[in-house]
């Protein structure tokens, strides 16, 4: 059964299959490729139908991803532990600086109480941890209706948009 994720504030089925080793490439369907094996798969990916995403960790240098962005449908940033905040900065650089507009997903140790900040940093999809209720996690996207800073969704800080 495909796993459920949150995407664009709704619970949907994940169409992507994770590929962590070169031999695992399925014949068809959407695939999420670990960045470690992306170069090995370049030629096979070019001749294949289906969407392609890459999976990275928060410490990856965004410039390394820049040349791939046009060909990617999904970038999944893994949080090894929810306290590791590097993925937030990476997400903002991908959105704000490199102009990535595809799906940006948080995976790994993803919990309800971090989703609001993640959303503001540019994530639009989330894989909440397996042992947690995804419906409950969805509520985390609506903790606040007001914010002070500029972020990936709202370019104007509060002082450019005072009510």
């Amino acid at each position: 059964m495909p796993r459920k994720i949150i995407k664009d504030r709704a619970i949907v089925e994940d169409s992507f299959t994770l590929v962590s080793e070169p031999g695992q490439l399925p014949a068809n369907g959407d695939i999420l490729v670990d960045i470690a094996i992306l170069d090995d798969l370049q030629s096979e990916l070019a001749n294949r139908d289906g969407k392609v995403g890459i999976k990275v960790t928060g410490d990856v240098e965004p410039e390394l991803l820049a040349s791939h962005l046009d060909n990617l449908d999904l970038i999944a940033i893994e949080f090894p532990v929810f306290r590791d905040g590097r993925g937030y900065s990476l997400a903002r650089i991908l959105r704000d600086r490199l102009g990535y507009r595809g799906e940006l997903r948080a995976c790994g140790d993803v919990l309800r109480d971090q989703l609001f900040y993640m959303q503001r940093c540019g994530f639009n999809s989330f894989e909440p941890r397996d042992d947690r209720c995804i419906e409950d996690a969805l509520n985390g996207l609506s903790d606040f209706t007001v914010t002070y800073q500029a972020d990936a969704l709202e370019k104007r800080p509060i002082y450019q948009r005072r009510p």
């Binding site: 590791d84 905040g85 937030y88 900065s89 990476l90 109480d113 503001r120 007001v146 800080p157 009510p163």
Partner: protein
């Protein structure tokens, strides 16, 4: 002072609801201890030796009397009748029940207060000079800039899970009462070549296990770039700060590892993408913030009115108090009064419920209803008429707040220590008391002049022992409490980390050790020389020889 708009209040109300829900889910077993830990810490809630400790934010030390009354009510209704001013201008409760914290937050929110980001690996409460806006040596009022930084740092979505805590202080005065060079970021207000307000940005200062004086990374930064530059520094830290070892995770370690030049290059590369955007601060926003900090409705008065001169002549105790506890003021006829929370046998920084109510009343009566907390754990009434000082002094004496020891050896900075804190290796409050009892002769203290003595119960250095002229650090040796003494630290413009004098001392010997150190100072000093200057001239050896002499 800053007054919330509906927007600010809505944010705070939503925060209370969010935290209430988080607490409920924790109590229902839906959040693990570890998951809730990060959430409660970002809300200032520690689990301590006896009970949780809740740290409430006092943004850059500013309070009004209504807020102080609510702090008093909380100490009465949710605590054991007292509260504690911390070394970062905040206030702490040592006995709240975890499940009642949402109710406390709701009460705080009713007077525009909160506990947001008072702990945890995020941007903490911004601090500044307790005499902001009234000091005679200040370039301009730093508080509007503090509020701008406060709003930018509150619930910043990118910087809630930093490698470690992050403290920002702002200074606008010649003497630097905010110790900015010992902060993760120190913002110094300067004037550029054209006489316009600008900022020098200092990064990588800090205390703890590795005390380091900050380095200057930007000079004369134009105001419109303040927030984009801070954001660039934070982003570089968030991405490259160490996360493998909590003792090496502060930004000071990153700045040291890269070197300040390489660190600056990284920040500027990041900043190049952020500046000249909608993040730039419009002049209208700065003016809007400045309008929240107008001069109060001062009366037209002259300095040193006749009655004050007579009262000082007739009452040596009052005269001494004016000299030590009252500070010169921008406005003729006024002074800033520091209430000493350092009476002997009272834990430094502690206040009772009744005392908090009394402080609120005094603020209404004598100081336009405003109160400030200081990083030295005292309380300031910043705008008192000189012709009312005598009357105020009388009331402060009754309350026990008139100990005329501000800046003296007994105006000790002291963390809660082993009596309360679960991190501490040793007690600190009884050490402060021991020293205060030993040096109970005020005339002798005045003769000694300004001496900063700081005590921490562990390496985390909440009592700022590294930057005391005399620093005392509690250490644990095989289960016994010992104390290491350092000399020569300084928190101001000539910031320095003190040097350890030698092997540590037994608890009961501390007052005797401090007495020997002071004796050496008195013998060696040249007329008018401060303790710190004498130490710098004669060096460590004479002190060392005396304290370890058989």
């Amino acid at each position: 002072m800053y007054a919330y708009t509906e927007y600010d209040q809505q944010l705070l109300n939503e925060r209370v609801a969010q935290y209430r829900n988080q607490t409920e889910r924790f109590l229902a077993g839906k959040l693990t201890d570890e998951e809730f830990l990060a959430l409660r810490l970002q809300n200032g809630l520690y689990v301590q030796r006896h009970a949780p400790m809740l740290r409430v934010a006092i943004p850059y030390g500013m309070l009004n009397s209504a807020q102080v009354r609510v702090l008093a009510e909380i100490s009465r209704d949710f605590d054991k009748g007292y509260a504690h001013f911390s070394t970062r201008q905040n206030i702490q409760y040592n006995w709240p029940a975890l499940e009642l914290v949402p109710d406390i937050l709701e009460k705080l929110a009713s007077v525009q207060m909160h506990a947001i980001q008072t702990s945890g690996n995020c941007i903490r409460n911004v601090t500044t000079d307790q005499f902001a806006g009234v000091a005679t040596d200040e370039l301009e009022d730093p508080r509007p800039w503090c509020e701008i930084i406060r709003q930018w740092s509150t619930f910043h979505p990118e910087f809630a899970y930093l490698p470690r805590k992050f403290k920002i202080a702002v200074n606008a005065s010649e003497s630097d009462r905010a110790a900015i060079k010992f902060h993760d970021i120190g913002v110094e207000i300067v004037k550029d070549a054209a006489g316009q307000t600008a900022f020098d940005i200092w990064v990588g200062g800090g205390l703890g296990r590795t005390p380091i004086v900050a380095e200057k990374v930007a000079e004369a930064l134009p105001p419109k770039y303040l927030l984009s530059y801070l954001e660039a520094v934070l982003r570089v830290y968030n991405r490259y700060g160490r996360r493998d070892n909590k003792y090496k995770a502060r930004i000071k370690i990153l700045v040291k590892a890269l070197g300040v030049e390489a660190f600056r290059e990284k920040v500027e590369a990041e900043w190049a993408h952020m500046k000249d955007s909608e993040m730039d601060l419009p002049e209208a926003e700065v003016a809007r913030m400045q309008a929240f900090f107008p001069a109060p409705a001062y009366a037209t008065l002259a300095d040193n009115p006749a009655e004050l001169v007579e009262q000082r002549a007739a009452n040596p105790g009052f005269d001494a108090w004016v000299k030590r506890n009252c500070t010169a003021h921008k406005q003729a006829g006024y002074m800033a009064v520091t209430l000493s929370l350092k009476a002997t046998a009272v834990a430094p920084g502690d206040v009772t419920t009744e005392e908090l109510f009394a402080i609120a009343d005094l603020a209404d009566q004598y100081s336009f209803g405003e109160i400030r907390s200081t990083h030295k754990q005292n309380v300031v009434l910043a705008d008192v008429r000189q012709d009312q000082l005598f009357e105020l002094w009388g009331k402060l004496k009754e309350l026990g707040f008139a100990t005329a020891n501000i800046g003296c050896l007994t105006d000790v900075i002291c963390c809660p220590g082993g009596d309360f804190c679960s991190l501490a290796n040793a007690k600190s409050i009884p050490i402060a008391e021991q020293i205060q009892r030993q040096f109970d002769d005020l005339d002798y203290l005045y003769d000694l002049g300004d001496i900063e003595l700081n005590i921490s119960g562990c390496m985390n250095a909440c009592g700022h022992h590294h930057i005391g002229n005399i620093g005392i650090l509690g250490v644990d040796k095989k289960g016994e409490e010992y104390y290491q003494v350092s000399l020569g630290g300084c928190s101001g413009r000539d910031a320095k980390v003190g040097k350890i004098i030698g092997p540590s001392f037994f608890e009961n010997d501390i007052a005797g050790v401090i007495t020997k150190i002071i004796d050496v100072y008195v013998e060696k000093r040249i007329e008018g020389e401060s303790f710190l200057s004498t130490y710098e001239r004669v060096g460590m050896d004479p002190f060392k020889e005396r304290v370890y002499a058989a």
